[in-house]
Symmetry: C2
Subunit: 191 residues, 2 copies
DNA sequence: CTATACCTTAATACTAGGTACTAGTATTAG
DNA sequence: CTAATACTAGTACCTAGTATTAAGGTATAG
């Protein structure tokens, strides 16, 4: 951008920004960008306590390694602690900071929906299921850290249609209720 | 484990396994584990086409970096391509293999729900919103690769309640419809 | 106007975790 | 016995650094 060199303060501020956005930048590239020597970049990093490229990459990798693992394990969202196939089930979801709206710290609705739907699907005694209809209501906001306890109950079965009710409570207080009509399908996804 | 060295085949098989489970192992550690020289490990990697530690870490990092980014960018699920605040909006979600039930390749309902809810929240002209009630219906199964086109329309506003209808189509065919009642809240999450 | 402090650059020695290559030994099969 | 296969050893080189010492430049205070 600009050819003139920035004052130290500003340069360091931008350095932090830059590496936050993209931690995969070498000192050499940075020294080019800022139009200073590579030593200056290194002094800056030292002052700011920013580790070297390889460490940055390593931490991105190991941070996300476990993170991704848990996200993928989320075929079913929430941990099923008790289930009676075709009858009822109970699952628990510990909400985290990843699940919230930044501004309000309120857990995004679809995580709650996902827990409920996952449990509803798990509880019915069919190979594969599809949500047909859901009628849901959020009763009160849920915050990061809240432990959601979902109870599902198979209300009625008619043909390949399952009527499942799910209630989610936080500290004994009802936070969500949903009625799902699930449709079991064959291997080809036909109802 | 065993002090005796394994036959080459078996060692290489285990090497692959090991690095799959944990890609953060150096050649030196591997040579210790397998009780062979570091050169042997390197020959093995060369034969098997396994890159060096730093490359492995780098790819874990960058793979997951974008993956995490998109997951985190999931403040809004799907890409909003058009929006008239308070009126209507349009978003597109390209479904991927990450989103499906393994057995049937059918996209999990909560992704669809999330797209619809995200758009509904985005379209209303309020700082923060919370889903109060939703009435939804899945009309047909959606498969990995399908492009979901969601249209939201603000139906009515009453006080801090917004009635938003969302329709999702796949190749012009309706796949989902939902009616959301969204509640705007203040900074403290109160309605 | 000079002295001091700070900023920047340069240069050198050293590190981890490799690649690429050459040269060798040990073991086994035919 | 010979050839093939498996393994080990060692060297030169690379990248992206750390750590340290030294040397200039500039701005500001006295």
């Amino acid at each position: 951008m600009s050819k003139t060199t920035l004052p130290k303060r500003e340069r360091q501020r931008q350095l932090i920004e830059k590496l936050k956005k993209d931690p995969f930048i070498t000192d050499e590239e940075l020294s080019d960008d800022f139009n200073v020597s590579i030593q200056t970049v290194r002094l800056d990093r030292l002052e700011l306590g920013i580790p070297e490229l390889r460490e940055r990459i390593r931490s991105v990798a190991s941070d996300n390694y476990s993170k991704i693992k848990t996200i993928e394990a989320k075929e079913i969202i929430g941990e099923i602690v008790d289930i009676e196939l075709g009858e009822n089930g109970l699952s628990i979801l510990e909400t985290t900071n990843d699940m919230v709206f930044e501004k309000t710290q309120i857990v995004r609705g679809h995580y709650i929906f996902a827990q409920a739907e996952s449990l509803a699907i798990a509880v019915i005694d069919a190979k594969v299921a599809l949500t047909g209809v859901a009628n849901i209501k959020y009763k009160k906001p849920i915050y990061a850290g809240d432990k959601l306890v979902a109870k599902a109950h198979v209300h009625r079965v008619r043909g390949n249609k399952y009527f499942v009710w799910v209630f989610i409570r936080v500290k004994q207080e009802e936070a969500f209720r949903g009625k799902f009509i699930l449709v079991s399908v064959d291997e080809n996804g036909r109802a």
